[in-house]
Symmetry: none
Subunit: 211 residues, 4 copies
């Protein structure tokens, strides 16, 4: 019997406990990234980790909890990585460029994690059949992007536009940059990111004021 999860931010459980959970989460990420969500059975995840199937059930309440832990961890990693790199920048334009290029860097260094995140986001469903995450789950991300866009509009850097549509399109373009890179090995991710940043810089530019 594993002690019930303490949903606090604080790490819980013994050292071994945490190590096993991390190992299982890592294995899940690799299997999902490699074989897709639908093929990522507990059996495969366990086999990939070199452990017995029961171990997963021992450390996680069920498959859903494991998936949610994967999402939580990967999402937190991305957010930390990107926010660190955005610190210090003042202008909305710089923030915008930095966000896109930082995400791209993180993707290049954590390809499997990001892929697994996307798979789970798209596929995990609640018992009633409705998506567990969905576009709705990106609300937090939308809002943080809207902060940048609104900041640019207020400072006069950006023209007036619907910040929600811009945020949704921004998110989509970044996500697909990743998907495109994954399926086109050899594609220059950093160049793509720079081009994408250019696109949104132009798209948001106040009339007659290109930098």
């Amino acid at each position: 019997m594993r002690p019930e999860n303490k949903p606090t931010g604080q790490e819980s459980g013994s050292f071994i406990e945490r190590a096993r959970r991390a190992q299982i989460i890592a294995s899940a990420i690799e299997v999902i990234a490699d074989q897709g969500f639908a093929n990522a059975s507990l059996a495969r995840i366990a086999k990939h980790a070199g452990i017995s199937k029961g171990v997963i059930s021992y450390h996680f309440a069920g498959k859903d909890e494991l998936m949610e832990q994967v999402v939580d961890q990967v999402y937190a990693d991305i957010a930390r990585y990107v926010l660190e790199r955005m610190e210090g920048h003042k202008s909305a334009t710089a923030l915008l460029r930095t966000q896109i290029t930082a995400v791209a860097q993180h993707m290049r260094e954590h390809r499997s994690q990001v892929k697994a995140l996307g798979e789970i986001f798209y596929n995990l469903r609640l018992p009633d059949g409705t998506p567990r995450y969905g576009v709705a789950a990106s609300e937090e991300l939308f809002q943080s992007l809207e902060l940048i866009y609104r900041h640019g509009q207020e400072s006069g850097e950006f023209r007036l536009f619907d910040v929600r549509v811009m945020a949704v399109s921004h998110t989509a373009a970044v996500d697909n940059m990743f998907a495109y890179w994954v399926t086109h090995p050899g594609h220059d991710l950093d160049a793509h990111a720079r081009e994408l940043a250019d696109i949104f810089v132009h798209a948001t530019r106040a009339e007659g004021a290109l930098p």
Copy 2:
């Protein structure tokens, strides 16, 4: 035994044969749009169509072939719809706007089809676990968008940019417009499309030349 499928574009089989296949494809679309790819078992599709499970196996080589037929049909519908509306326009800018708004109109009128298309695109896998359609499958779409963008660059309407990145981002933004609309009932799809067209018009604009 059913005669093997002729993979030509030409309709094959008797009238009844074609009608049954169409009925099954329509049922599959509705079930997938409603319950998601993972919950769209042949049993559910058959039940929804009011027929026996065996009929599907009789008319399609397997589940995968059914899914591919759904994709083919829906994809062809979208292409026809959008191309019809683009005809007659000359300027790249007009073509760009029209493409985006026409897709949005089609989405509004064929919500289930588009949703099912997305589900299959994202979820269907080959036996070895790799995606059946990945971003790679959008190659045809990318190229047709690139035609527009290159046309604009040659006519001087558009600035110089990487047309592939622009096409990928364009596709992504349109896809997510749909996803956002699906999960946010009441969202104004047409307004979103107009804003999105504005975004790409600005993003592509030759310097100092806003219309």
Copy 3:
């Protein structure tokens, strides 16, 4: 896909359908009577019937439905058997004696059925853990016995007593007669039944009026 059960009294399904269901129910009865409820897995029931596990899932919504069908059938058999033999008797005393001896006869001829019924009654639980049947489920039986007892009190054959306590005790004594017989092969069930009838005849007798 099996057509959903029509909960009407009318038999539903094709001939083969009904035959398979009957076969599976019979197999379940034998396995439960032989190995006990806890050991009566679907695998064992299927093996005993010489069919695949999946067949059971095909014909019954789940294990619980199978168990309930067993109860329904066995219970109806007993009721029919006993009521047939009680018909024509007028005096409460005769009805009482007949009920007990008829049940005993039925038990002797349908040992497995009765045993399985008891096992399911005692063990089957709802998803929330509460008993599916329980003493509460015997309410119908209690009330029919109370009719006899009240009839005897009104006719003056029986003394005054709490008919509910008498019915509960009666039910218990009959059930345990069966259980005792099951565990003591060679025990004379009919003699036991006659003795038991004597006990309740004496227990109910109006003072000073033994027949």
Copy 4:
């Protein structure tokens, strides 16, 4: 390693050893009474006791031994309680009444214990699937009741009847009194017991000699 259990009546092991075993037995009783035998996993029993699962394995050879210890303890409690109250009574009729009412009192005061006892009696099986306790296990109880009945027949208080059938029916009626009370909160257990005593007093009465 724990020293093997000494199956003597004498308490064995250190103080801590005995305390732990008692604690575990008590927890098992509560869980079984609450959730039923089938849902009383070692995990749940351990959790309810606030200890680790391993402790149970340490102190008991296995689940079966734990169950048997529960039976032994509860059974001994009941016997002691009832026998104490029967002491001093001489007439068979008084002994009969006292036995029934004393058992009822004990039930009211030790509801969980009695419920757990019944669950285990009915459900525990030997590895080969046969019941560990069946009606056969009540032999001791039957014989002690038979002593009373034979005593009454010899003293002339009781009519002639088959003492085994009477004892079996008596046991059944008392057991079901408990089951009925458990499922009908608010039912008057003491009144039920008095009625039940009346029933057996009448059932055993020598003709023409009601007290």
